[in-house]
């Protein structure tokens, strides 16, 4: 084809033509020259030859017996396609349909896996419900199930590779006193089948993810470096192909995936979304929420460059992606730092950060919902409400002694609650008999309601801590 002699051609020429001792008519003059050099055959190239060629070409179907025109056409077509591919340097590695298919399959697998696992848990939960609560990881659950099967076998089973020791002990203990029903061999068999399926699908999913990573690195290395494999694959799948994705503008790539929000906002003339699929890129994930929009825009701008480089560029190195990513990371750091500096004013003054105060948030169990007996009559309730109001108002002022006492009591109990926990408070409640201390009880009940307020005001705990210590001593007596 390129003016050189093929081995087969050489063979044919040697065999047939040398014996015939006649000059060879050649259509391509260059080829004729080469043949003459190598095989020492005399070649003719003239207009006469061309005419001959035309004649042969016209009568090709008739001259070669046994070959139907359809076959000839098919042969030509196949040959033409292979030659074109050779010309285009078509490499099967760079087909991006694989990526699109792989990522769709990954999503499908996840959905199916979730369904199967839920079903498995529910089904086996009839037999051994406690296992579901003890083991939260799905894969471990299935492996455990697969190993043991029926509840009776738990005592003798070796689960040390799957579970840490305490959990294993818990499981074995729960197996003894489980309240699930008995199930027959067949049922266990079926559950085990489902289990094996789940495990297989899980393993395949990890395999598929690795495959996807490899393909992404091979097809679009720069994009992989910039946004990661999953996000890159999703972008390509969303656009349809790498070439299609390359045709989009940077602003489009930024909000690819948020079309519903975009058009809704455009129709109602509100703010459009700031990020789409790009939100899940690691660079956007690691910034504070204030700067996510900015980073998403900058990342989209650099990513389209990477996309276009991968789609149309000749070499497949990721140097450009790495460079751009480094630039982006530097800019990200600059933005985060700048946030600490004051934006208004000279810009040289650092913004004042507030002093760190430990704000303890204690959420206690509200026991008022426990007992069905009425905890207090309506009269009392009104009193309570009044007291609550008083406490809230006057605590801020810190004026009267009576309230101070109440407040102090409250603080003590707060402290005690913090230290000892809810159960202890309840014990305190039950142990208290005097009416006076019943008031205290009510205070305790009120506290969960109004505790949010004392907790949030930062000034309150500090001055009363001193009084707490004194009163605590008194209480313990």
């Amino acid at each position: 084809m390129e003016g050189k002699i093929n081995k087969q051609l050489k063979k044919v020429l040697k065999k047939i033509v040398k014996e015939a001792h006649e000059p060879l008519a050649v259509a391509d003059a260059k080829l004729g020259g080469v043949i003459k050099e190598k095989l020492n055959l005399s070649c003719i190239h003239s207009p006469v030859v061309n005419e001959l060629m035309r004649g042969i070409r016209s009568q090709m179907d008739g001259l070669i017996p046994g070959v139907e025109p359809r076959e000839m056409a098919a042969m030509c077509l196949g040959l033409a396609h292979s030659l074109s591919r050779y010309r285009l340097k078509f490499s099967a590695d760079k087909v991006d349909t694989m990526i699109v298919q792989a990522i769709s399959l990954l999503d499908d697998l996840d959905k199916e896996l979730n369904n199967y696992i839920m079903r498995c848990r529910e089904w086996y939960g009839w037999h051994f419900p406690e296992l579901g609560k003890i083991i939260s990881d799905n894969l471990t659950y299935c492996k455990c199930l697969q190993k043991v099967g029926d509840r009776k076998n738990y005592a003798s089973a070796q689960l040390s590779e799957l579970l840490p020791e305490e959990v294993e002990a818990e499981v074995k203990a729960a197996a003894e006193i489980s309240m699930g029903t008995e199930v027959s061999e067949e049922d266990i068999c079926n559950i085990l089948h489902l289990c094996t399926q789940v495990i297989e699908i899980s393993e395949y999913r990890t395999q598929l993810y690795e495959y996807l990573q490899n393909r992404m690195m091979a097809i679009a290395p720069n994009v992989t470096v910039m946004v990661g494999e999953l996000v890159g694959a999703r972008l390509i799948a969303h656009a349809g192909s790498l070439l299609n994705l390359a045709k989009h503008a940077a602003s489009t790539v930024q909000i690819l995936g948020a079309e519903k929000a975009l058009f809704r906002a455009l129709k109602s003339r509100r703010d459009t979304p700031k990020y789409g699929l790009i939100y899940h890129a690691s660079l956007v994930g690691q910034t504070s929420p204030k700067h996510k929009g900015k980073i998403s825009r900058m990342l989209a701008a650099k990513t389209v460059l990477a996309i276009r480089y991968d789609a149309f560029g000749e070499d497949s190195s990721s140097a450009m992606g790495v460079e751009n990513r480094a630039k982006l990371e530097a800019r990200l750091r600059a933005i985060e730092d700048r946030g600490i500096r004051k934006i208004s004013g000279t810009g040289k003054a650092l913004a004042k950060a507030e002093k760190y105060e430990h704000k303890s948030e204690v959420k206690t169990y509200d026991p008022s919902g426990d007992s069905t007996l009425p905890t207090c009559s309506k009269k009392r309730k009104i009193e309570q409400v009044d007291q609550e109001d008083e406490i809230i108002e006057k605590k801020a002022k810190k004026a009267k002694v009576k309230i101070k006492v109440e407040v102090e009591e409250k603080e003590e109990q707060e402290e005690e609650e913090e230290e000892e926990g809810v159960l202890v408070v309840e014990e305190q409640e039950t142990s208290v008999k005097k009416k006076k201390k019943k008031d205290k009880k009510k205070h305790i009940k009120e506290e969960p309601l109004s505790e949010e307020e004392p907790c949030t005001s930062t000034a309150v705990p500090s001055p009363e801590k001193k009084k707490k210590k004194k009163k605590k001593k008194g209480n313990e007596d």
Binding site: N50, S58, C76
Partner: protein, 244 residues
């Protein structure tokens, strides 16, 4: 409401769509697929749904020539066509529609970027044979192409007459026809369009390519002309020379 119809054009294989607007259409060989985003129309014909693709004369010189009123395009069903300058395959797909599954169109295109699109088009249409070679050297693809009935040349090169002649000598049968689209700016941007067309025609005549008609592609293109002719006409015994 106007009834939407598709009626055959004078040229075999080409149709006219009469609906809200009139359009030139060809029968889609691969129903459901659009090659370059063109509009497709589906019409009920005797119970079955038939799909046609609209042919844009602003993008295709052949469509512009047909709408300009060329006498004969010579591209018919079951024809073998050699198309030089196939680009991304937009007009080639329409030629493929016209010639049908029994015909063959050899699409020659040198650019790799356009060639990629061409190969994609050829994947779904088996009567297109993609050839990614330089049309200046027909010997380079002599093993792929048989003898053809029509050559359509839209290469936009200064030596396009020579290219056409070389290909005709190698591949065009006796009595075969050719269509060449001449862009005056491409050949010689200083001379006037008519002068350029005349000189091109003379060059063709020297190579045994006898021109039969010439028409300009106004209003679709500026300073473009299409020349239709015959190669090595077969002298028939009867006086009237029928152009096939």
């Amino acid at each position: 409401m106007r009834v939407v119809t598709v009626e055959p054009h004078r040229h075999e294989g080409v149709f006219i769509y009469r609906g809200m607007e009139d359009a030139l259409v060809t029968l889609n060989m691969v129903p459901g697929q659009s090659v370059y985003g063109e509009r497709r129309v589906t019409v009920n014909e005797g119970g079955a749904k038939v799909e046609y693709r609209t042919w844009n004369p602003f993008r295709s010189k052949l469509a512009a020539a047909i709408l300009g009123g060329v006498d004969q395009i010579h591209i018919k069903p079951k024809c073998k066509v050699l198309y030089l300058g196939a680009a991304s395959g937009t007009t080639v797909s329409h030629v493929s529609d016209i010639i049908g599954p029994d015909g063959l169109v050899y699409a020659v295109e040198f650019s790799h970027r356009a060639g990629r699109d061409l190969v994609n088009v050829a994947k779904s249409r088996t009567n297109i044979i993609p050839v990614l070679e330089d049309a200046r050297h027909p010997l380079k693809y002599r093993m792929l192409v048989g003898m053809v009935d029509v050559i359509f040349a839209d290469v936009a090169q200064p030596d396009q007459s020579r290219i056409l002649a070389l290909n005709a000598h190698t591949f065009l049968r006796n009595g075969g026809h050719f269509l060449i689209s001449i862009k005056a700016n491409c050949i010689d941007s200083t001379a006037s369009a008519e002068a350029v067309f005349a000189s091109e025609v003379r060059k063709l005549q020297q190579e045994n390519l006898k021109p039969q008609e010439q028409l300009t592609l106004e209003p679709y293109e500026r300073d473009h002309a299409v020349v239709v002719g015959v190669y090595r006409p077969i002298r028939s015994s009867s006086k009237s020379r029928s152009s096939k």
